[in-house]
């Protein structure tokens, strides 16, 4: 968010709505209407005085109306734009020409009631729709007691109630009497999977957020008793099942599988009544009930559709198809995020990058024609070389730090430290106005080192360093003391000690800052070519997108044909012809002038770094070298081959993919079929593999419905653990139930058993409703075998890209960097990342294509300044560093008679393993030299300095 606020090429238009779109793909004119803010964003310092004086109280919508704010306010302190805002509906001045208090008290003169609504006509080549999702209606919530019983709250409200910056500052209280609840129930599927409210689909995110909210509540109140009522537990995302299990165990969450309970109030308690799938009825009393509200289509979906000229699906989400999930029904207009269908953050982020690739394919001729390039002022080398003049800025982080640590005392303490030429406390040092102020102070006081005592450098260091660059200082002349995580948070109960520790950290940071030196920031040229590993649906999509964006692409496929697992599919879950999708993709790839397809080929070795890789590809014994700037892993996965269940012993036992091939042949394969039994989670979810394979549930209902088409009187049984037909696939699940497919739930400790008999086979399974084991004679047993990782170990070692415990490639960040990996310039998509359906694989492939194209577009990459430096005079050439480097970033070079180590700076990640193992201390790390670290340690040790510092002794 902050990044978007700082980008010179992103113009943020808030309080703005789209009025019309004219023209065609490549050249649209969009008319946008913008309401006035009545506060000049550039002048507002976000000091908050206007809110203090505003006499008009209004419900705080950001806090779900659980709190009161004023007509002039800011939603939250880190908001972008970091400017206050006047609600025109509530403001006395706007509505009645009375009051003018805010304007009179604003010392910055930012309040401007002369602002008028604006109409803008924007010339754009493409329009991306990302309006998000809407709220489930009040009438739906009322069915579950919301509005009638005070202590029934929505999940949005609960989110704010547990948030430290929320209306109760994170103290969990129930609305009726402000008492801390002891027993809470979460009800799932509110406004989801419910045809009575018009939302037949599954919202896909509520199971996860309920578990998260329950876990956070337990962190606040460890003695809480929490029950969650699920119809099915749908934690099908990558690593989500494992996270759910951990949360259940760690917090003792009580998971109940039942339809949504009935709710009544008895005195001050809420009485829930529910029926479990063994037919038993239960009831219990709770202090508070949280409704896990689903994601609805945006309220303005129809308006958007009319303006953009696109079609919606039956639930008012944007109409798309599994083969082209990000394309609307109109060329040049694309969609990403929850408007495309309910989805979580990683999926939204993936689609967001994916849609960027599609727009970039369309508009490549216009690329760069309207962008603004930022130039930084030259570094003031003379100032940098002067005696250190250190500025110390101590951040309140609102109450996050100042609620525990005495920030002003820490600030005053900093004044006593040597070389500190300026000191100040700031409310939120990361806010845009504070950054401006810091830059101003650094310039005014000719500071050449900056220490910020705030939060974590992991999240905020780049932001502050950017500020330094903008005023001509080398970003390495910066040091952070993390007094939030390491003081305010971990010592929340000991404010005095936390303050003392903050002083210690600031003293240490200042000691280090005195020795900081500027570090070079070189850039390297990029070879504008991509290498894509894997020629399945994901790999072909990536290659096509990168090539369509204008760059040469080499596509390497291990087998003799393109297509991968897509070759085995007949239909997609949304009923499209998978073979046609395959044919189209293969045709486009084969005839694309910028794509070089290498079949029967494998990556043998690779060297280099982002922008400059050299890979050896072997094709039937022959090898070829390819120079490329980026690389995408799209090597796929494979169908898990089941053990047991009489698979391979009886021709009547198939996998879902084998069944699909039989269905494709038509009725003949099912002439004598009476009973079909499908068994879910064969191999998955703890049987052999730990992960959930995500798509088998949808695949099973899809195939069950196909069998019903071919043979309507067939009895179909699906034996499952949780039906995970998330999103719009829920429609298929419901249709299957309506058409008589029987669903029987089993538990992992009582798995179904396939028994071969003299004639035919039977399946024994425990029927929970009857309370006894039943035996189903079957003509066909279909195993939903899930997805196993490919042979990833070799590639993982070759590229130094780590794998997850389940054997899939590990992304750089599960939420915010879902298609990048730990190694720069290498990207990831498809089944190599984890199990997923075609729709998700295509979105992810587009996302990988966008990320991979970024260095190709830029033509240059900046090299990390924190790299190892080897003092060749001291180096004895032992080679320990080179053998230990996990990034292949040290090479041994012959110099005269001896070998010496040399860092390949572009590959170096600055991990420091080499420096810590060098027997002669010849290696130092930029920004972390031995001298700097020793200075920090000395500053800490009591004998070294005590209250002052070592400099005081001098």
């Amino acid at each position: 968010m902050v990044e978007a606020g700082r980008s010179p090429n992103i113009e943020i238009l808030t309080s703005a709505t789209l009025k019309s779109i004219k023209g065609r793909a490549g050249n649209f004119t969009a008319e946008v209407f913008q309401q006035p803010r009545y506060i000049n964003e550039d002048l507002c310092t976000a000091c908050g005085v206007c809110t203090m004086y505003c006499p008009r109280p209004i419900a705080d919508v950001y806090n779900e109306r659980l709190d009161i704010t004023r007509a002039t306010h800011i939603d939250f302190p880190q908001a972008i734009p970091t400017s206050y805002y006047i609600d025109p509906k509530a403001c006395l001045r706007v509505n009645y020409q009375t009051c003018n208090l805010c304007a009179q008290t604003c010392t910055a003169g930012a309040i401007d009631f002369s602002q008028k609504p604006k109409n803008m006509k924007l010339k754009v080549g493409s329009v991306i729709l990302a309006p998000g999702f809407g709220r489930v209606g009040h009438d739906v919530l009322e069915k579950f007691g919301y509005g009638r019983y005070q202590d029934v709250v929505t999940s949005y409200e609960f989110e704010r109630l547990t948030c430290a910056s929320g209306p109760t500052e994170g103290h969990l209280v129930r609305p009726s009497d402000q008492a801390t609840p002891k027993k809470i129930a979460f009800l799932q599927c509110i406004g989801s999977r419910d045809v009575t409210c018009g939302n037949g689909y599954c919202s896909s995110v509520c199971c996860m957020y309920a578990i998260k909210e329950a876990s956070v509540a337990k962190e606040h109140e460890p003695d809480l008793d929490i029950s969650l009522f699920f119809m099915d537990v749908r934690t099908q995302g990558k690593g989500f099942d494992a996270a759910r299990k951990r949360a259940e165990e760690k917090y003792g969450l009580n998971v109940i599988r039942a339809r949504v309970p009935k709710i009544d109030q008895i005195d001050s308690k809420l009485a829930l009544t529910w029926t479990t799938d063994d037919g038993e009825s239960h009831s219990d009393l709770f202090d508070m009930v949280v409704l896990s509200v689903g994601l609805d289509a945006p309220e303005d979906a129809h308006a958007i559709a009319d303006i953009a000229g696109i079609e919606l699906n039956s639930y008012d989400f944007c109409k798309t198809s599994h083969g082209a999930p990000l394309s609307t029904t109109k060329n040049g207009i694309y969609v990403a995020g929850a408007f495309q269908g309910p989805k979580d953050i990683p999926e939204s982020v993936t689609q967001a990058s994916g849609v960027a690739a599609i727009a970039s394919e369309l508009l490549k001729e216009g690329r760069g024609s309207q962008t603004i390039t930022v130039t930084y002022p030259d570094e003031d080398k003379a100032l940098e070389e002067e005696e250190p003049r250190i500025g110390v800025f101590v951040c309140h982080c609102g109450v996050n730090i100042a609620g525990v640590v005495d920030v002003k005392a820490v600030r005053d303490y900093a004044a006593s430290l040597p070389n500190v030429a300026y000191y100040e406390d700031t409310l939120y040092s990361c806010s845009q106005d504070a950054l401006k102020a810091i830059a101003q102070k650094v310039k005014e006081n000719r500071l050449n080192r900056v220490v910020i005592a705030a939060c974590s450098p992991r999240t905020h260091e780049p932001l502050f360093q950017e500020t330094l660059r903008s005023i001509g200082l080398n970003p390495a002349l910066f040091e952070m003391a993390n007094i939030r995580d390491q003081c305010a948070w971990v010592h929340a109960q000991e404010p005095e000690e936390a303050t003392q520790k903050s002083k210690d950290l600031v003293r240490m940071a200042v000691a280090k800052a005195r020795l900081l030196e500027p570090l070079a920031q070189p850039t390297v040229d990029v070879t504008q070519k991509a290498l894509v590993l894997g020629g399945g649906a994901a790999g072909m999509t990536v290659a096509l997108s990168i090539a369509d964006q204008g760059f040469e692409t080499v596509l390497v496929e291990k087998s003799k044909v393109l297509g991968g697992n897509l070759r085995k599919l007949t239909w997609t879950v949304d009923g499209q012809d998978a073979r046609k999708i395959l044919k189209d993709l293969v045709r486009k790839v084969e005839k694309h002038p910028k794509i070089d397809v290498m079949l029967d080929s494998e990556l043998e070795s690779t060297s280099g770094y982002v922008g400059n890789f050299t890979s050896t590809i072997s094709t039937g014994g022959k090898t070829e070298m390819v120079n490329h700037g980026v690389m995408v892993i799209a090597t796929g996965g494979k169908e898990y081959k089941p053990k047991g269940y009489c698979y391979g012993e009886s021709r009547q036992v198939l996998t879902q993919l084998e069944l699909e091939q039989r269905i494709a042949k038509g009725k003949s394969g099912f002439k004598t079929t009476k009973n079909v039994v499908m068994i879910q989670c064969v191999g998955s979810r703890g049987e052999d593999m730990e992960h959930c394979s995500r798509l088998c549930c949808s695949q099973a209902v899809k195939n069950a419905l196909k069998i019903k088409e071919l043979k309507p009187d067939a009895n179909i049984y699906i034996l499952y653990r949780d039906m995970r037909t998330y999103g719009f696939s829920e429609d298929l699940y419901r249709e299957a139930r309506q058409k008589g497919v029987r669903f029987l739930r089993y538990t992992p400790d009582n798995r179904p058993e396939v028994v071969k008999q003299a004639r035919g086979i039977k399946v024994n399974v425990y029927d929970r409703l009857l309370g006894e084991e039943i035996s189903i004679p079957a003509n066909l047993v279909v195993l939903s075998t899930g997805i196993a990782p490919g042979e990833n170990e070799n590639l993982s070692k070759l590229l130094k890209v780590p794998l997850t415990q389940d054997g899939f490639f590990l992304e750089a960040h599960a939420k915010l960097r879902p298609v990048e990996v730990a190694v720069d310039g290498v990207y990831l998509c498809g089944l190599a990342h984890g199990p997923k359906g075609l729709e998700e694989a295509v979105s992810q492939a587009k996302a990988a294509a966008a990320k991979a194209a970024i260095p190709l577009v830029k033509g240059k990459v900046a090299v990390e300044p924190i790299v190892s430096r080897i003092d060749k005079a001291t180096c004895i050439g032992c080679g320990i560093c080179a053998s230990l480097c996990p990034f292949n970033a040290i090479q041994m070079v012959k110099e005269g008679k001896r070998k010496k180590a040399e860092t390949i700076t572009a590959s170096c990640k600055g991990c420091g393993i080499c420096a810590s193992h060098c027997p002669v201390l010849a290696i130092s790390m930029g920004g972390f030299t031995d001298e700097e670290i020793f200075a920090q340690i000395h500053a800490f040790s009591p004998d070294g300095c005590g209250e002052g510092s070592e400099a005081e002794k001098k």
């Binding site: 978007a4 980008s7 090429n9 992103i10 943020i12 238009l13 808030t14 309080s15 703005a16 709505t17 789209l18 490549g26 050249n27 649209f28 946008v32 950001y62 779900e64 939603d75 908001a79 734009p81 805002y85 924007l122 493409s126 329009v127 991306i128 729709l129 990302a130 309006p131 998000g132 999702f133 949005y156 704010r160 430290a164 996860m208 957020y209 578990i211 998260k212 989500f240 759910r244 929850a338 953050i345 939204s348 689609q351 967001a352 960027a356 727009a359 216009g366 690329r367 024609s369 309207q370 962008t371 603004i372 964006q549 599960a814 939420k815 966008a850 990320k851 970024i854 577009v857 830029k858």
Partner: protein
């Protein structure tokens, strides 16, 4: 007629913001149109995120 080098993104939630960032990195000028007075969408209202409990802001 040559194609425009600017793109409009409607919606300033996590999807819109990420799209805008990537498009800017890919060499396009972006208009990020948000109906509310602030960007961030629903994600800015979340305290923590599943499963890593990272801060949402």
């Amino acid at each position: 007629m040559s194609k425009a080098g600017a793109i409009m993104v409607l919606g300033g939630g996590i999807a819109g913001v990420q799209t805008a960032l990537d498009l800017a990195d890919l060499g396009y000028y972006v208009y990020l149109v948000e109906k509310k007075p602030y960007i961030g969408g629903v994600m800015a209202q979340l305290d923590k995120t599943f499963p890593t409990n990272d801060c949402a802001i």
